[in-house]
Symmetry: D2
Subunit: 308 residues, 4 copies
């Protein structure tokens, strides 16, 4: 595979209403590793198995939601080329200097038609995955909390789904893995898109509320770990949304719950591997309930209404 | 990710000593789906979840082993470009006409320095994954036998490991995910290489026996399915080599056993996702035992000596 | 352990509204083995791993619910002794002759204070567990549907919970493993009782609706099989009540769903082993939600209202 | 079930060659909870989920092995009755005063025909299972090391297997769940016996080496935890004997490894529930390999030769 271009979700900056309480939550309940604070007070975290310096940044704010979403690209040449391609497509870009985020190189920032701010970057310091790269052990013993493997994907909402979908497909090299159709049988209500072998690296849902976050998703390794995540969520009396459950869409298993600021997160496991030669899976309007929650076969009100 | 070029292991043609007995084995023990026979008598199989027409072809022969190994490429343009690149690199290529294998387009065939015959192709008929692409169910009920998800990778042996490794990296776009070093601390004894997000799509081991197969590997979804595979192997009194176990290398779980012709197969699960910006994991000579069999921490004689 | 007396739930006779449809359901969705019909038309089933001739009997009726619940006792001497003990306790008993149920010995029938009809019996033909007792295989390959290990327990409702609880503890040798208290902090709202090392062989819930069934529970071996059960339930569009989930009470994992007649069933896995020297676990009124559904921490209306 | 008599393995006193090193091993690798030292220097441990004060006692000695094996009985009346029954059967008994072991009541000690010292006792302080008995949480988060659920059973060796088997069955109320026969097709080579619903609470193997320990077994909850146990064993470079694997006998999954003194331990999971009305499973001499190690289908030399 020509491995140039966008490779994976790299980091995102989340707004939280009470920074200290959120740091406690992401450290002890989510089980992320705190990676320091920067001069502006932002708190950095990584999953234990992640190699790069951080994947989640918390910023104190007076409303919840996500400031920006970033993808890592394969190298600086790809970063430059993708910026050119974005401009050629008519998207304004901005360069954020290296070091503005800890241990992170220069970032190319732009806004997509659904109103969300995205970033691309080529460099972030490899701080290690707790197991090492020379004769490593196979697991990390004594994990606490949910302790996901990595930041996996985001589901985000906005009005001009077609615009964001096209930008991701035509400029950033994504492929649509699954589509959910509106009642007209033609218009995309939601799309799940991949820049890799994952069934989704990002999902867009058509929604009048531009620039909103439905959930940030963290990967777990097994269905047994999904059960443990649900147990941990209850032990800490975290607000639960749904789960454990299987999605019809992507076939993965899931829990949805809320961080202390009301930002929804998902702990996700499984699903199938996707390749760009595969035809997309299509869900019709009347099967949407089963598509989202495979076992209950119906959407719950909270799932539909709450975004941040 | 620019998803052009080599995308995944697509098919391989295995030599078997007793075709009817092997068809029985791959149907009822391995749990593959028989996809027909061609005019020359070859038998075709796919894993239930695979979408393309077949991934394994059995050919009656008087000695075991693998005739050829094929990767699917993203499209015809990639096929043409890769053939040019191979020739520019000094590799002779041959075109096998479309239809020589059932439901398969034109193939570009070439021999790599370790003596193995490889193929690239861009087209194979999508016959469906038993669940469909429109409002699909999430699982296939009533699977019998081992019933893997897909053909996953091969481990193959030959003398000029450096030559094959370089060809795969420099021409075919692979990245080395893990390396095992010889006692000199510099020379590769074995390399695990990826053309995707998998920790390996192919592994080469340095071995005086050119053009040999160590094992073909089939993917399972969970460690519980690995246990069931081992149970099925015993129920059918299949010759077991090793397992269930974890590999240090790739961190995946495994069983090795032998088909009725003595070809070793693996049922594999898990491991980590690999991206091309990751530095390779390195194993030193004295830790090779733990690298291969993480729990016993020693290589067994059979693992080292038997290839086909 | 002195292994005399009541040993386990043995069989139950379920009323169904459409016998043929129910036979199809219990055969192909629940994955039980049909064991024949008797002269009165009743249909018999066993779980594959069960050794005795049957554990579930379906009877065509014009309303759903359970006719009777039966425990196997260790031997005929225990049957006779327990009948004497019941009579001494003031419970009227009736002898049902051997053969009235296929392959089943004489049964002692009696009604408990919550209105339910119970039976004890000492003999049922051992027809084998599909694996044999001489050099057996370890698993049964190719299981279809939910395919539980055994009939595990029942949750049943009635007004005089105290009366039934006392009868089970004082006469039949059961021990209370868990109690859920009413708002007064003293009165039992529900009790989970064991005649074995299981955390429950039967549960009684205080409810004005005498002689009602909340659910019959079937045992699964792993949380992965619970997931598969939920998938199978959706594939067949079975009415789902709740799950997959963990119970706080018993700590087991669960799914609740409904058979075609509206009888609720559970597929249950795990929990802890109970011994009679253990003190009971107590749940207070305000923690009942978490006790029943550990992850959502709230009872749903359907769970509370639907019994048959 | 009349729950009087012997109920479960309660504790055992293990001889270790280096007490401090062994305390480190059982605390950090096995993941037991240290429960204090007594005046004679012995170190006490319990599994986290166990309720009674301890299940394992380590004693510094100059040779490995087990000093004694103890079963808890249901109450003092049962203790007295069983002592009478033992004496009536011709077995000499001794009373060990309460408090000789920490938090433990009076013990009845006796030697069985295979040379092993056994004990019965009715009281040990309930110190809690880390989750509590009032509105408990369902799991313990942050477990480290192997962290088993409980001491499960022992396999012990001696010459007069028939004598010990008969004593356990005729006096202590055990039932033979599985038997492995010698080449003559009649004589028991090994028996697995139950005093509960477990497929084995103790196993005896015929062996010229009287009063020897093959392994003490600790229970795990899932096959995934068996994998983790094997990973932990490797991380700590513990001497591995075999596994992960399934037993044919009992159908449970297993790992065998050695503590720092060379005492073999097992981490065990699963298997089937046993009831005293079930006929025993029988293994013939030529199928013993598959009976013990279901996947490799052969006994390894170490398994046969090493006892302590």
């Amino acid at each position: 595979m020509a491995l140039t271009g966008v490779i994976r979700p790299g980091h995102c900056q989340l707004r939280v209403l009470d920074l200290e309480r959120s740091i406690h939550f992401y450290t002890h309940v989510m089980g992320l590793k705190p990676m320091g604070r920067d001069a502006s007070g932002r708190a950095y975290f990584k999953c234990l198995d992640e190699r790069d310096h951080h994947s989640l940044i918390l910023r104190q704010a007076d409303r919840a939601g996500m400031d920006f979403y970033a993808f890592k690209v394969s190298d600086v040449a790809a970063l430059d080329r993708l910026e050119e391609d974005l401009r050629a497509y008519g998207v304004a870009t901005e360069r954020i200097p290296a070091g503005e985020l800890l241990e992170t190189g220069e970032r190319v920032r732009f806004r997509v038609p659904t109103g969300h701010v995205f970033e691309l970057y080529a460099h972030k310091t490899d701080v290690g995955n707790e197991m090492g790269y020379l004769n490593p052990e196979a697991i990390i013993d004594g994990r606490k909390g949910i302790s996901p493997i990595r930041l996996d994907h985001w589901q985000i909402h906005g009005n001009d789904l077609d615009g964001s979908r096209d930008l991701f497909c035509k400029v950033l090299g994504f492929t649509v893995a699954e589509r959910a159709l509106m009642a007209d049988g033609r218009t995309d209500m939601a799309v799940w898109m991949s820049c890799s072998n994952k069934a989704h690296d990002i999902a867009f849902v058509r929604d009048a509320r531009d620039d909103t976050l439905h959930h940030a998703s963290f990967l777990l390794g097994t269905w047994e770990q999904v059960l443990k995540a649900a147990d941990v969520i209850t032990i800490h009396r975290v607000a639960m949304d749904m789960g454990p459950m299987r999605h019809g869409i992507t076939k993965g298993t899931t829990i949805y719950a809320f961080d202390p600021s009301g930002n929804r997160f998902e702990t996700f496991c499984g699903g199938y591997d996707f390749y760009p030669d595969m035809q997309p899976t299509v869900w019709t309007w009347e099967e949407m309930g089963r598509g989202v929650f495979y076992h209950t076969r119906e959407l719950n009100e909270r799932f539909l209404s709450v975004v941040t």
